[in-house]
């Protein structure tokens, strides 16, 4: 399925540039996710990746003109907060055992 961009002209160029910036940010976060020295670094990188996916869905709603994508962004925002809380408890539980 080919999604045609509904925005053109100045707004279309701005949306292309925004997507380029988001891809650079995603690559940087993926580098930190792979190379992070501690578990907390990886969790921070994963948190940023999920936030960037929400941003990308909001931008993609604008590119495609399909309004349903913003509902996906709302759902992903809810899920990513739960994932962050769960990972924080995981950090607390796994590495705290050796110190106490």
């Amino acid at each position: 399925m080919i999604i045609e961009s509904t925005a053109s002209g100045l707004l279309g160029n701005a949306l292309s540039l925004t997507v380029l910036f988001l891809v650079v940010a995603l690559l940087a976060a993926a580098y930190r996710l792979i190379a992070g020295p501690t578990l907390s670094d990886r969790v921070v990188a994963l948190d940023l990746i999920s936030m960037l996916l929400v941003v990308f869905l909001v931008v993609f709603k604008m590119i495609s003109g399909v309004n349903a994508y913003i509902y996906v962004a709302i759902g992903l925002a809810l899920i990513s907060f739960l994932a962050t809380v769960a990972f924080a408890h995981y950090i607390d539980r796994t590495e705290g055992d050796s110190d106490e």
Binding site: A28, A29, L52
Partner: protein, 113 residues
């Protein structure tokens, strides 16, 4: 006119998201990286949601973009605080230049000079 405003806000939001990614690579320890990811990322998301609100067709679309924005600025600091507290408790190593001042003896010392 609204096209130009929305285009500027989109590019600014994408730029701040890229700053968040670069900060995640270049900063030195977990706490500084968390600062970059949370603050710059939330600012980028806010600018992009405002851009979508500028170009929205009806009041319902404005409300949906506003909901994404409000939910992320409510949940991102909470999640970041939880990660920071867990990192502090498990003694994640800090940058060697970090100075800890428990009784605030150096507070406002530099500014009075």
């Amino acid at each position: 006119m609204s096209d130009a405003i929305a285009a500027f806000l989109f590019v600014a939001g994408g730029f701040f998201c890229m700053v968040a990614g670069i900060g995640l690579i270049r900063l030195n320890d977990v706490f500084a990286r968390m600062h970059a990811a949370t603050k710059a990322g939330t600012l980028g998301l806010g600018l992009i949601c405002i851009a979508v609100m500028v170009k929205a067709e009806s009041l319902l679309h404005v409300a949906e973009a506003l909901f994404v924005f409000l939910f992320m600025i409510a949940s991102a600091p909470v999640g970041s605080h939880l990660i920071g507290r867990a990192s502090w408790r498990t003694r994640v190593p800090m940058d060697p230049n970090t100075q800890i001042d428990p009784d605030c003896s150096m507070f406002r010392r530099n500014r009075a000079r």
